[in-house]
Amino acid sequence: MTESIARWFQGLHERTGINLTVFYDSFDAARFVSGIATTIELAFLCVILSLVIGLAGVIVQGSPSRLLKFSVNCYIQFFRNTPSLIQLYFFYFGLGPLIAVSNANGQSVPLVSNFAWATICFSIYAGAFNIEIFRSGVEAVPRTTVEAAESLGYTRLGSYIHVILPLALRISFPAFSNNMVNLTKLTSVSYAIAVPEILYASSQIWSDALNVPEMMNIVLVSYVFIVSIFVYAMGRVEKALRLPGIGL
């Protein structure tokens, strides 16, 4: 089966010049599939981490300590107002060499890999946006509801966890979901520091096989496919979280 598919695509190349090496060259196929896997892995880790950062940030932002609030705001301003490609370069080429250990050859080797830097960088970038998104949700929770929770004896953290955040999350879910779709697409930027995701794998393939237009089409279709599945999953989560009765 796979062999006949491979033969068909090889024939297609000979007949029409359309060279889809990923379907008949096992080496190219392997690196493209591993590219897709890397993209999904990177996106998944970043979504989880940025969600954690967003939740932690919004709780800290609501705290009475002015110093804590100030530091969270600094973090948001810093990472929201700088391009993520620049942040990536900063971490990988600027900060990376400083966090290094010496190996057996006496060469200093960075502790954090390019994949890890990409994960960290995109998570804190999207996390900064998530804090703001969740804050808009928190602010939309009616004041009376918060007061009701307080009068029932909830501590500040308790009311956050049991009353405010569950409502705020639902209110801000569409915006959050948007940000996460952007984050998934943002993973392609890690191409710049040679993280072997889809775009990087494709660039390796088109450098060898010189089939740029074909690979560009494949990359585009792959992203449409991956992001569609992600959007579908987010839609399902949103539905499952629906609270009938209070318009959420």
């Binding site: 080496f27 060499p97 290094a100 050859n105 660039s203 450098s207 089409n217 449409v224």
Partner: protein, 270 residues
């Protein structure tokens, strides 16, 4: 919503088909003369073939040849900076008229452009690594992280044949940086350039320990179908060996070196 997404899908499909369709070009030689400028795709970070002087001016072996092609046509020369990953696309799209970018002549590339024979130099792949890494043969690279520049024709072979874990960066500058930062144990690249790097005091402690592999001529390239232009530069390229231009340029850019490729070509065309 359905209607929107459907038109969206169709236009997406159309874009894809256009991209695949390719395009035809008229004779380029008249365009160049009418324009008064020869657009040359060249490297600007590839010593000694094409690099920036401290003043910012692009100079090098390839640049001198580009000037000669332009002189022959009676036009000015303009170097458009390209990389190994985009030089052929620039040529195909008509952003440049000719690529003189220390580009190696390979069978894959011949399918999409006219390579000019004879080539004006030859180069192969070697590695730059820290001396203490103690790399003695290509097989030692197995399982090691090896930096590379995207689009180099030998990257795949080094990965497939020697089992190196290739980390390819957009430009050689980033690969040099990554090697220095310890992100990889070696940088696989053009042997001429790497050997020259050793003269730089910044790279003391590094070596080019392996014999070059996959030597290929370095050639100019023009678009497929540009027969007149191709014939003209082919004649020019042969003359460069006959009249000693390449030998002079080798003396200028590789002082004290006489590559076997150049000797061979001089003997063949003299």
């Amino acid at each position: 919503m359905t209607i929107h997404s459907r038109t969206g899908f169709r236009s997406l499909l159309a874009c894809g088909l256009f991209a695949l369709a390719g395009h035809a070009m008229a004779d380029n030689l008249d365009d160049i003369k009418a324009r008064g400028t020869l657009l040359v795709g060249g490297k600007t970070d590839y010593k000694p073939f094409g690099y920036r002087e401290p003043s910012g001016k692009v100079v090098g072996f390839s640049v001198d040849l580009a000037q000669r092609v332009a002189d022959k046509l009676g036009v000015k020369v303009e170097i458009v900076p390209t990389t190994a990953a985009n030089q052929l696309q620039f040529l195909e799209q008509g952003k440049v008229d000719i690529v003189i970018a220390a580009m190696n002549d390979t069978p894959e590339r011949r399918k999409i452009v006219y390579m000019v024979e004879p080539g004006y130099y030859a180069s192969g792949a070697s590695i730059l690594s820290i001396k203490t890494a103690n790399i003695k043969k290509w097989e030692d690279l197995k399982g090691q992280k090896v930096c590379a520049a995207q689009g180099a024709y030998f990257n795949r072979a080094v990965q497939e044949k020697y089992g190196a874990d290739i980390i390819a960066f957009k430009a050689p500058t980033e690969a040099y940086n990554a090697l220095r930062n310890g992100n990889c144990s070696a940088f696989v690249y053009d042997d001429n350039t790497l050997t020259l790097k050793l003269e730089d005091p910044d790279w003391a402690g590094y070596e080019v320990p392996l014999r070059s592999i996959m030597p290929q001529p370095v050639a100019m390239a023009v678009r497929l179908g540009e027969d007149r232009f191709h014939a003209l530069v082919t004649t020019l390229s042969t003359d460069w060996y006959k009249t000693g231009v390449i030998v002079q340029l080798e003396d200028k850019w590789f002082p004290g070196k006489r590559s076997s490729f150049v000797q061979e070509m001089v003997a063949k065309y003299r």
